[in-house]
Point group: D3
Chain length 321, copies 6
């Protein structure tokens, strides 16, 4: 199906390497721009990569040592900007790739920030809240020499949220001895965070999809959408797309895919997840809803496919399905 | 030959991995000490690893981007301490291994410093002095957030020397806006460096060899020595060992090995290198001196073998020769 | 009269203790909110209390040592915020109580500041302007380690004004070596102060009174008001209340009370004070104006009673009069 | 011609001394204001004058040492503000005079800044771009202890521009270790500079001339103007004045004066300069355009004379012509 | 007994007030020195008193809020110097008194430090080691704006020791981002502490006692001593006094007094305490040892009485016994 | 007389210009050393010259504005080092010359400092102690951005002494918020100053004179000396020279010269000055002592002439007398 390609990423040979993909995009752009080789040489590397080991006292008293990263791709456009990801698959290479992508994102919307990214290799579902708090405070301390309101400003990303940003703010403020709310974006509104931040990404996805369809002459209420992933981005994308009149025919999360050609009830599914022990759609059922697997979901006929899970889900081997 | 083993490192399977070797040493020591698992977990990782990209304007005007590292193994014993190496084979892993080894070195001689190490992946022989200066100043700027007299204090290592330390001192002093000679050791004596620093490592090697031989009941003037490598450590080791009465029967450097069972003239060879265009022993000849290759050199019969080239020259596959 | 109670503070047994009163309010609120005991434990103490001794060279050359305070109740909501009071009755306990009240004030109007307060135990009427300047500069120096634009921001309070804030700004700027106008609010407009700041408190009192009366179905031009205190807050409250049509029947200051059931001429009284040597209403008389004492004033029949003198004037023993 | 005097400076005896002129203006103002002698004593001196020597490696490898200045007239109104001039005639005295004038300028338009100025005694036309860059970076480093976003904020002036400001920003940001775009005004818009900054001075000149003529009852399209100097200020003044309907009858630059009583084509002349090797009007000719010298230009009959070259062009000896 | 008075403090009326006692000493000294009243006015107050509330997460998860203090009597002689005491009886007044006494102590031995003192009102025997660690880290954070190697340097005092100093050093070093061992004295020798620090106070007591006796013509091995208190100071005083030949006839601690006219075995008693669950002499018995109470102990006939418990044990009401 | 030339400075044409003299010395040395022109270009300028205006409140309440200087010749050898001079003849040029001379002085004795110097153009005899204190504190504040223990360390010079250094230390310490005794040398011993500092210069003069005479084969007790100037350097030079057996035949100060071919009584003359109202030798007489003027004094026959007044007293026009 053709419309899927609107949001797909460029082909690459090694489907596991986000960095290779990012580099390939840069190469392609550099060729098209006839970019100064000196500038190109600087853009294809990351200016600063900090890797830290994070000893954390676990609830049972033993010390677990995690590995964390903070990468700044460049400082040319202003302070670094980019989220912090907690995920077992986080590696130095992945964080490096994401930092580069942040430079292009900031440039596209012309905000005075440079690309940066952080992450900790950890499965946050296996840690208690107190352990997560201690991990976050230690990580903040460890990267504190290279972050700052005028240096590099973290934000939430996969598995980090307002609470994580509050812990970072508090730790950084204690180190600096002053109230430093400007060290992160994505704080709670009550602590100075921006109104509308939580659903911003999903809203952006919906607006982009809406514009793409309209420019292709589609009628929104005759279109269908499939959303892969049902975390923050996925749920808000689904809601805002549904608000625009599209029928959401497929949604997936860690528990599998859910398909209803007559349209899924997004609000009901959001409520289901909130009340679920597993914080997932596991066990969700409703009249007309059929369980499918992730591969089937990605191949569903639809006008809009929203890849809101991890990066690199749409690849050369499945892009044309 | 048995005496070679005095200075050899423990066996390991992958001869290219200094890090694996360092980790194996730690593991062995931890088992012997019955070390607290929490302490062990912290010691087996590096607290902070900073990787930086270093754009340098070359003499012909184009920009070359090098990669540099600074690794701090721990901060438990005081500020970090460790040299900066310029070598094409420098990698993040190698620097990490060397940083760990510095912790053990500082602990053994009980100075209040923790282990650290730095390096740049560059072949300094291919750069002009001006290019080396610009590279060093950029590297210093790039790692400046994590070094400091009370944080981490660099020193010379392979292919870096007093001049490099002067450039680092000047760059760091300009960033801080004050005279900061204490940012490095290994400065020129005229800028506050320590007297005797240049030959200190070689002198230490000679003293250790002397003591080992004496404790084994050897007569020094009946002993022979082979020195692999003829840089700062190799030349001074050879000189101080010869001063103690031993016969230096073999010396090697990048140009190959030189063997004279009646004893080489160390001072003459030092002078030869100084006057040579290649800054090596290439083309050196003298009565009784025979050219051999590096493998032959390492297998020469001798009472003392000084491995003063790169790390990991004596391995399980050649240790018993 | 019932309407007095709109502005009265809660009953307490020890009429001299503002701190006890503040604590009682917190206790009551905590019970109503079923507040987390851990949060309550933190809120009932002051995070930081700095007491400083202030040697000041007096005009005759001898040194007088005053005692100053700066209290930060919490830093949870952002930088501390609160005035600096010069009064002989200032004590550590009083400043502590006022700091706590500032937290509730900042929270009620939802500005991102936490409660703080400062004070010096001094009778400013006994000091020359030069002595006051030297006292203020010394006090600023003494508390400078814990104040700052992102830490704690002073403001005028009883017996301090724009001039005091200018001295604080200049002293703080000299210590920091940079223009730091943001260290205080309440600066002169010409130095970056906010327009409308001087009459802001009085205007707020008038608006609150107006709204309370209107919500109780009163006609403003049939209502009467009594204003206790005729400093910055009292004069502007009286003016703005009179502007809204109410009749000001009683006003008091340090010289006693002035009563006119047909309404006092507020502007005339303001002018009188400005031209008076004692900077008070002492000696003021006008047709129909009767002298009364403070107790009589507080018992005057009226619809609005503005307690614009010191805290704790309306207590369990006189609240019902 | 009378209208020339609108923009002329006060008479003074020594035509070479801008400082004497500035001091005379202050004296005159002080007398009219009956200024407090203590304030006057402070205003007639410069608070801080920093003179630095600037060793710069030239393209041929030798070191040239230039002299630079940064003068802060006062800090009373906020951070210093003033341009940086590159010109062979720059002296400590001239920079001092210009710093004082900046205080009056900032005060007149009531922005919270104090007067400052900087300069380097250098003929920038004799330096390559790389040499200018190295000079600017060294100058920035040398004055960095006394400039800053809250201390003193440079800007472009004669022979410095957006590129110079970018070098200053980058150098200052590297010293501070953070993105410090606020260290200068006059940056490129893409790095956070203000839109409209480039033509702001010329636009101001045109608006002032327009208002002066209108208030004197003139019809704009019957008026003539002469512009001395054709750099940034001169070209934009000429353009904006021409836009208002005036006829530009004379323009001069380093190559001499150009006169056309029927009006010069400003846009054509701007284009000519851009394409010229000498970056001047040298060799410019057009029908009706007559070459004159600078003295003749200053004596041309006109309603508006714009002195947009160096200071002190209109003096007691030529003001009445 | 006369010799007791060597170490007694001056008479005062309120036996509970150490501050009154300290002030009385100052008054007396000032009268004797005919001290400049301006200096006296400054010396009789404490320059800076910081009171902090310390929320600590207890092992059971609830938050306990403790109160801590740091007082700097003066900064005239150099950085502040003084211990940190953990005791339930710690008050702002007591810490203030101890800070003043530190000024006199530093002056007497002419070290370039001024008097300071700190304390937390807590019974450390009721806290686990983890709770004590969290308390100490929070206390260090809270006082960090006013301590520092060049500002004020803490040390151990009652109930704080090498471990406490290590926690303070680590917390302060993390806040500052550098190894700051110089923030405290009394660190473990392995972290840079001074050799001989642990028994220094006791050794000083023994030397002072020895000198006092010798100057009074006593023979040491015919003298007897009584030691009140058996903590760090008491045990080392007893040991060093016994080493000098005196007979220790009485020792007391929290469990009561122990009397043996033939001499107590100090080493045996030290060992007993180390192995005791209560870390006291409770239950100690030996041939010839008699249990007495504290009052009896203070009235024992002896040549030397060492008051090594809390301050103010020897008062006007018991000094002559 | 020949021996005078030991201490004389090189010839120069303009006897008023110390800077020309210093530059000439550098030129001569550079020629002799065949100095690298790039190094020479840097050494012949002063790296940093700060000129500050110093508003001071005089005892009668009016503000006097003084001009102060701090010049750093270079930073190549370490922090700047040089005295602060209070004298009406102080100019930017003179301070610049003295700063250069300090570089050579520090180099000659091989201490790790660079040359610097400061001064205020003021006649300190016309100021009260309070006015001097306020001047010194303002001067310290004004130069504080460029001085520091690792940047530039002032010391006493003409008309400044231990008291001045104490004021500087206190002002600098207050700005930095910490005890910064290392900001100056020449403090009182009680505040950490060096023992022997007061008479160090004079002692050095005496030792140098002694060695010069001995190397010329003279017998010390047959030699005579003349001392021009009787301030700190002059009195201590005279004392230490007399201690070595020489006869002091001439001494001068502001009041004129005193000559006794049989030798002057130095101690008596020192005592005379201390007890004199004019703090000079004015009115001094003793048997055999003859009054002469300064020119006569400089022409007295002697073996050693000590020029301990201002610089440039021995010139081409009087050197041979």
């Amino acid at each position: 199906m053709k419309t899927k390609e609107f949001y797909s990423m460029p082909e690459k040979t090694n489907e596991n390497s986000l960095l290779a993909s990012a580099q390939a995009s840069l190469d392609k752009a550099a060729r098209m721009l006839n970019l100064d080789p000196n500038i190109y040489a600087m853009l294809k590397t990351n200016e600063r990569t900090l890797t830290v080991s994070l000893p954390v006292e676990m609830d049972d008293g033993h010390v677990e040592v995690f590995t964390g990263y903070r990468v700044q791709h460049t400082t040319a456009r202003g302070p670094g900007k980019g989220g912090i990801r907690y995920h077992p698959a986080v590696t130095q290479e992945e964080v490096a790739a994401l930092a580069q992508l942040m430079t292009w994102k900031c440039s596209l919307v012309n905000v005075p920030f440079s690309g940066a990214k952080g992450g900790v290799s950890v499965n946050p579902r296996q840690l208690s809240e107190n352990e997560l708090r201690r991990l976050t405070r230690r990580y903040t301390y460890a990267i504190s020499p290279i972050i700052g309101p005028k240096t590099d400003i973290p934000a939430p990303d996969m598995n980090t949220d307002e609470k994580t940003m509050t812990w970072i703010t508090d730790t950084y403020s204690m180190i600096k001895g002053e109230s430093s709310g400007e060290i992160v974006t994505g704080k709670p509104v009550s602590l100075g965070g921006s109104v509308g931040r939580i659903n911003a990404t999903g809203l952006g996805v919906a607006i982009a999809a809406e514009q793409a369809l309209l420019r292709n002459g589609c009628e929104l209420n005759k279109c269908t959408a499939v959303v892969q992933g049902f975390g923050n981005v996925g749920t808000w994308s689904a809601r805002h797309i549904a608000d625009r009149g599209l029928k959401i025919v497929g949604i997936s999360d860690i528990s599998g895919g859910y398909y209803n050609p007559k349209g899924l009830n997004v609000d009901e599914m959001v409520t289901y997840v909130k009340q679920s022990d597993t914080r997932s759609l596991e066990g969700y059922s409703a009249p007309g809803v059929e369980s499918i697997n992730n591969e089937e979901l990605l191949s569903l006929p639809c006008d809009v496919l929203v890849p809101a899970a991890m990066e690199n889900q749409i690849r050369s081997d499945n892009a044309n399905k």
